[in-house]
């Protein structure tokens, strides 16, 4: 992907032109990048046009596939009425809280299992047992325990996202270089100090990979649980609009959720790339 962006750049700014404008090459680079961007993502544009055409030309019933422009209009209305923002914020709060808990507890658990043999012997089989469990099965229980509100969703996301983080942290921390550990100890570092300065940084790449899996899972579990039982949130809004037959608005919310999930992943990757730059 990066290849597409690095080729076809404008001329590098050089003194040869004799003009004091660093602006022009930058502008040219921007345009050239943008045309690469367009070329790369044009299939999505083609799909969008095909969608619009299919419903405008009555190839598909406008009920089953409302024209994309109508969906866009419905999206603007949803924003103006505040429905999308309100439900969206409550969804993002649930996903964020559940994921944060999962990263904290799951990460600590994984590192703990990697450094302590008894902990590994105790917890390893349990992690192995629960890891392949389809976490969506927990939706009814979390509702049973905590009701229809935020609590049950946060608990579900926490439980569902914890183990990928644990396994990432465990694999990462277990792979940390013994020589580093020995030299840290020989230089007088002890206990938590070693943990924080040596084990956690060397576990970081795999830990962050586990978090990426957890991030995707968080969105899946969030939307699933809100679709099945909720009185608020994206999933609830989708179900409510669908049941009322406002399909344009339903499509608008579905696309919004899908886009936010995509965006979260991209932002996360960009942040991770930055955070791991010290490794190069």
């Amino acid at each position: 992907m990066t290849v597409a962006f690095s080729t076809g750049r404008g001329k590098p700014p050089g003194p040869a032109s004799g003009r004091p404008d660093g602006k022009l090459p930058a502008l040219r680079r921007l345009i050239s990048n943008r045309s690469n961007f367009l070329l790369r993502y044009s299939p999505l544009l083609i799909l969008a046009l095909a969608w619009e055409a299919a419903s405008r030309l009555q190839l598909a019933s406008s009920l089953a596939l409302p024209p994309l422009t109508d969906v866009a209009r419905a999206w603007i209305e949803l924003i103006q009425s505040g429905d999308l923002v309100g439900n969206g914020l409550s969804s993002l709060y649930r996903a964020g809280a559940g994921l944060a808990l999962a990263i904290l507890v799951g990460g600590a658990l994984g590192v703990f299992m990697a450094v302590s043999r008894p902990a590994n012997a105790m917890l390893g089989p349990l992690v192995e047992l629960f890891y392949p469990m389809p976490k969506s099965a927990l939706i009814p229980v979390t509702v049973l325990w905590l009701g229809f509100g935020d609590g049950s969703k946060i608990l579900l996301i926490f439980l569902g996202c914890m183990l990928p983080v644990t396994i990432g942290a465990y694999n990462g921390a277990r792979g940390s270089d013994q020589h580093l550990l020995w030299s840290a100890r020989s230089m007088g570092a002890r206990g938590l100090r070693v943990m924080w300065d040596v084990v956690v940084p060397s576990a970081l790449p795999e830990l962050l990979n586990g978090v990426r899996t957890a991030l995707a899972l968080a969105f899946i579990l969030l939307v699933s649980s809100e679709l099945v039982v909720a009185r608020q949130g994206f999933g609830y809004l989708i179900g409510y609009l669908g049941a009322n037959g406002s399909y344009e608005a339903m499509f608008a919310v579905v696309l919004t959720v899908a886009f936010i999930g995509f965006l979260a992943d991209r932002v996360y990757q960009a942040v991770v790339e930055r955070a791991l730059r010290w490794r190069e």
Binding site: P43, P132, A216, I220
Partner: protein, 263 residues
């Protein structure tokens, strides 16, 4: 008669040691549930849950539900596996296909496709077709990306020498590219399988009907917590068995590969 060797004894002890935490957890659950600290509604004892599973099994409902869930999950998974490998192989070998599908795959992969569930219900109704479609939609992405990456990383020397010896495109695909990409393709499938299970359970919960997810939702509506916990245990066992089966299949298929010999 087989003699009990040291190795067997050691393996048995190892297995028992790994089972101990699970048994401890079950015992703690039983004691906690019976202690009166929580109502049986909040947390039924494992013995009560087991009883319920046995009742379902004797009544035959359990097998109908397991059959329905497994059929949808595995059908969707199989379609995603075949479709994903085909699409991935085409993308890896054909620039036009890569241009068209690459942005769709890279944008679609991180999306929570489960949000499209109401749209799929609108289009395809409430029955197996829409549940299986949903599974395919979610499970196909990891297979495609793994296949593309796997084929792209096949060593050029292998391709050159095969070409030199006169391999045709079809032979190249079946005898060089796919076998060499197999480890990565299997990793993609191992990612896709749990996704398929998560999705099938959600679709069943949302749409009702036969299936373990539907049965759980029904139990939950009638505030039957034993039924809900029985569902969790059943789904967990099925998930564990399928994931273990997939890992076994990987070892079998990669017996010729370096990876297989290391283990």
């Amino acid at each position: 008669m087989a003699r009990v060797t040291d190795a067997m004894r050691r393996r048995f002890a190892w297995g028992a040691a790994r089972l101990a935490p699970v048994v401890t957890l079950l015992a703690a659950w039983e004691i906690f549930a019976r202690s009166g600290a929580v109502t049986p509604f909040m947390l039924p004892a494992p013995s009560a849950v087991t009883e319920r599973i046995c009742e379902d099994a004797l009544g035959g409902d359990l097998f109908v539900n397991i059959g329905a869930t497994l059929y949808r999950a595995l059908m969707g998974f199989a379609i995603a596996a075949v479709g994903g490998v085909v699409l991935g192989a085409v993308m890896a070998r054909n620039a036009l296909a890569r241009w068209f599908f690459d942005p769709i795959i890279s944008v679609g992969f991180p999306m929570p496709k489960i949000a499209f569930l109401p749209v799929i219900i609108l289009w395809l109704g409430l029955y197996d077709v829409s549940k299986i479609t949903m599974v395919v939609l979610d499970a196909i992405f990891p297979v495609v990306t793994a296949t593309v990456a796997g084929i792209a990383s096949v060593e050029k020397e292998l391709l050159w020498s095969a070409r030199n010896m006169g391999a045709k495109d079809r032979e190249l695909l079946w005898q060089i590219l796919l076998p060499a990409a197999l480890p990565q393709i299997l990793t993609g499938l191992q990612v896709a399988l749990p996704i398929a299970l998560i999705v099938v359970v959600v679709t069943e919960m949302q749409m009702g009907g036969y299936g373990l997810g539907g049965a759980m939702m029904q139990a939950s509506r009638f505030a039957n917590s034993r039924g809900v916990f029985a569902g969790i245990v059943e789904i967990a066992i099925i998930g564990y068995a399928l994931v273990a089966a997939m890992a076994w299949l990987r070892r079998r298929l990669l017996a010729w590969h370096q990876e297989g010999r290391e283990g």
